[in-house]
């Protein structure tokens, strides 16, 4: 059942040779074009780059897209990038869906181009299917307590505490031992400058 109001754009990323080297990206792009509610499907060398993001923004405006599917890397890596890109183009960032065709496909099936291409199509299709049901969401804003807890009073904890305190934040430094100083206080001299540790 196709929803007339849905206008999905699919952006297939080559990721240089990271995806295009193991997957037929043009075949995937054409396949995506035929999926339900997809009005445009395009390919880019690096979708996360400025030209790549500009193309998404331009297409959102030109084609009046209301859902975006980026088929590239893991959402754990670039979901924030593309969400920002959507927001800049005036679309709610939650109308983005990523198809992880690099970590989940091209990089792990790099010796079987045909199977990898087939799987990529499936991953894109699943992403489009999910995108059709995405709704705009509002992120909650919460206040922040301007204080920080630093656990451990060795050299790392001391440095972090001083930097944070010197930038104006209240620091609570918690140390298990009776004194701060940690391992470094037990050293005599330190490399490479051979100066004292305390």
């Amino acid at each position: 059942m196709s929803d007339d109001s849905l206008r999905i754009g699919v952006f297939v990323c080559d990721c240089g040779m990271n995806i295009a080297g193991f997957v037929d990206c043009e075949e995937v792009r054409q396949y995506a074009e035929g999926l339900e509610d997809v009005v445009v499907s395009s390919r880019n060398r690096y979708t996360c780059s400025d030209p790549g993001q500009n193309e998404i923004k331009k297409t959102i405006q030109e084609q009046a897209l209301n859902r975006v599917v980026v088929a590239s890397c893991s959402p754990r890596l670039h979901e924030p990038t593309f969400r920002n890109c959507m927001a800049e183009a005036g679309l709610n960032p939650y109308l983005l869906e990523m198809a992880n065709i690099r970590e989940h496909c091209s990089w792990v099936h790099s010796n079987n181009r045909e199977a990898a291409t087939r799987k990529t199509k499936d991953i894109v299709k699943m992403a489009v299917a999910r995108a059709r049901f995405l709704k705009p969401q509002q992120e909650r804003e919460i206040p922040v307590t301007d204080a920080v807890l630093v656990i451990g009073g060795g050299i790392a904890g001391i440095q972090a505490s001083l930097d944070l305190a010197n930038t104006g934040h209240m620091v609570y430094l918690v140390e298990k031992q009776p004194t701060i100083g940690g391992m470094m206080a037990q050293l005599d001299k330190t490399f490479p400058t051979m100066d004292c540790s305390i």
Binding site: S74, V128, K135, L149, A156, I158, G181, K189
Partner: protein
């Protein structure tokens, strides 16, 4: 150290431990136990009167046991706070018959035997974890005789012996007879780069530490003969190669090869060893006055408890896992928490300081913001559908849901407390709870799309964002190859995986379904994955009753670091998939269709009777 002590915006709490952390980014509530010091640290002037009178003599931990301290003591002269502390395990106690001498001696009345532990509650917006490391204990490497031979010491003991503030005032002597050793050997990679005993990783600092030690010796005692036994010398940092070359120029001998055991001459305490010089291809024999074991670094033994309190995960080497190894190396996977220093991996002082400054800057971004945005994915209750059954109330790891069966009050979610794991939505039998941005129809659509063509060729894998999905990403970045027949569906938590998703996949012809999530202790939603386990147990029983082989539903726990395991599991899933016959899939589809139409009939009958 002193800067910390006098900074107006740093409240430092020693002898203190974090006992509990609740809340979320921007709004953590922390409980700290400040243990009794038995000395008022603000009043104590470290005058030493109490120390002089204390009759108890114990080994001094700071000096690695080479000298002694009293039961009331200051760890070292520059300690912050500059105050004594009583170790109550050593102290004879405030009993007039036994002791209590220090109490009488202290004119300022700083000593208080009745001092209690204090619980301090803090509200903070961010947390920096900088709990450091332990040093490898070479006792298990018995062939090197660390516990048997007095003149075999660790590199940390060496530090105390050569330090001007050490037990010998910097006069370097060997423990057995107090003579200054003339021939000293260093053995590298003790507890590092070892697969059987110790740890497989490189401890990062020991090569340069030995280079430094050799230079200290040569500066103090130019005639000392020094030999360093190594596997590889790793002098990779700025200024490191220079230092290494300086050491060689000053006559330190570096020999590629580790001795397999050490023999002590009982007459003079000297140490003898044979070693294969692997560069020259010959066996060489040595006699030393003293041997230094260059010990590696390891995760803190007592780190587990804190790791659970903070709900952080660890990499396979036992150090804390970062959010992303390259792009977010100081962020912990839990938002608002940051890692600094060796707790993340062994590193030297410069790297610890660098990482600490980075962590401070990252934490500062949060603290400097007036408000921050939270993920929109939270639970929403459809009050029309809610039957007030209360099932969702106990499953919420955050206690964010209230409802009352007796008073007919439908479920209500406190949004600020909801982290969006989705366990409530998966447990609700009436479809009354949905998760924003991760709702049922989105998952159903993904499953349908995946199984539309050739379902028999595919296995459906549910992966939780923080662990198993991260493991699948790591398998990708590591290029671990596995069969191309799996289709991954991301959930924020395995607790989100509703029974109906799984049954829907089977109904559409999926041969195998895998549900995967974090190891129990690592769940990013406290313990939501315990409900996953219970749900799967329930579902396995139900599948059995329906005549569907329960093995076709698999459950796996894996951490973000287990990329290789992910690939391995996928290969196993593929093997299982290939074994499911067409007939079996056909039978499953039929059983589930019948069950569905029966359910529909019952619902319709109930509807008409109502």
């Amino acid at each position: 150290m002193t800067d910390v002590g006098r900074h107006p915006r740093i409240k430092s709490m020693t002898l203190s431990e974090v006992e509990d952390v609740a809340g979320y980014i921007g709004n953590f509530r922390v409980k700290v136990r400040k243990k009794a010091r038995y000395v008022n640290e603000n009043e104590c002037t470290a005058c030493a009167e109490c120390v002089d009178i204390c009759p108890v003599i114990m080994p001094d931990e700071y000096q690695m046991g080479f000298s002694s301290r009293k039961a009331i003591y200051i760890p070292f002269p520059q300690a912050i706070p500059s105050s004594y502390v009583i170790n109550m395990e050593d102290c004879l106690g405030n009993n007039p018959i036994a002791c209590g001498k220090c109490l009488e001696k202290c004119d300022k009345r700083c000593i208080d035997f009745d001092m209690q532990d204090e619980i301090i509650e803090l509200n903070v917006g961010a947390i920096v974890v900088a709990t450091g490391i332990d040093v490898y204990d070479p006792t298990e490497l018995d062939e090197y005789g660390y516990t048997r031979f007095e003149n075999v010491v660790t590199s940390l003991e060496f530090e105390r012996l050569i330090c001007a503030g050490g037990p010998t005032d910097g006069h370097f002597v060997r423990p057995s007879d107090g003579r200054t050793p003339k021939r000293i050997g260093f053995i590298q990679c003790i507890g590092s780069r070892a697969y059987k005993r110790g740890h497989p990783y490189c401890s990062n600092v020991c090569c340069m530490n030995t280079v430094k030690d050799s230079l200290l010796l040569k500066e103090h005692y130019p005639d000392t003969e020094i030999t360093v036994f190594y596997i590889d010398i790793r002098a990779f940092g700025k200024g490191f190669e220079d230092l290494f070359n300086r050491s060689k120029k000053m006559g330190v001998r570096y020999l590629r090869g580790l001795p397999d055991h050490i023999i002590e001459d009982p007459d003079n305490g000297n140490l003898r060893l044979k070693v294969e010089n692997t560069t020259a291809g010959r066996i060489e024999e040595f006699e030393f006055d003293m041997l230094v074991l260059s010990v590696g670094l390891e995760p803190r033994q007592d780190g587990e408890q804190l790791r659970h309190i903070l709900s952080l995960s660890q990499t396979s080497d036992g150090f804390l896992a970062e959010c992303h190894p390259k792009l977010m190396p100081v962020d912990a996977p839990t938002r608002g928490m940051f890692l600094a220093g060796c707790v993340e991996a062994p590193k030297d002082i410069k790297d610890s300081v660098t990482q600490a400054s980075a962590a401070a800057a990252r934490a500062g971004i949060i603290l400097s913001a007036n408000k921050i945005k939270l993920e929109a994915a939270t639970a929403v209750v459809d009050k029309e559908k809610c039957t007030c059954c209360e099932v969702c109330v106990p499953v919420c790891p955050y206690g964010a849901i209230t409802a009352s069966r007796s008073e007919k009050i439908p479920a209500e979610v406190t949004e600020a407390m909801c982290a969006g794991c989705g366990t409530c939505a998966a447990e609700c039998q009436f479809g009354a709870i949905s998760i924003r941005h991760f709702d049922d129809e989105q998952y159903m659509a993904q499953i349908e799309a995946a199984l539309e063509e050739n379902p028999r060729d595919k296995a459906i894998v549910f992966a939780c964002n923080w662990c198993s999905y991260a493991a699948s990403d790591l398998a990708g970045t590591s290029r671990f190859q596995y069969p191309p027949n799996i289709r991954v569906i991301r959930t924020m938590c395995s607790g989100r995986v509703n029974e109906k998703f799984i049954l829907h996949a089977f109904k559409l012809g999926a041969p195998v379904v895998l549900v995967s999530g974090c190891h129990f202790a690592d769940c990013h939603y406290i313990d939501a994955n315990r409900w996953t386990q219970r749900r799967m147990d329930r579902l396995w029983n139900r599948l059995e009753r329906l005549g569907i082989r329960p093995e076709r539903l698999q459950l796996e726990w894996m951490s973000a670091a287990e990329g290789q395991r992910f690939a391995q599991v996928m290969a196993e899933i593929e093997e299982m998939r290939a074994k499911v016959s067409r007939q079996e899939i056909k039978n499953t589809k039929e059983v589930l269709r019948k069950r569905e139409s029966k359910k529909k009939r019952v619902t319709a009958a109930l509807g008409s009777s109502a």
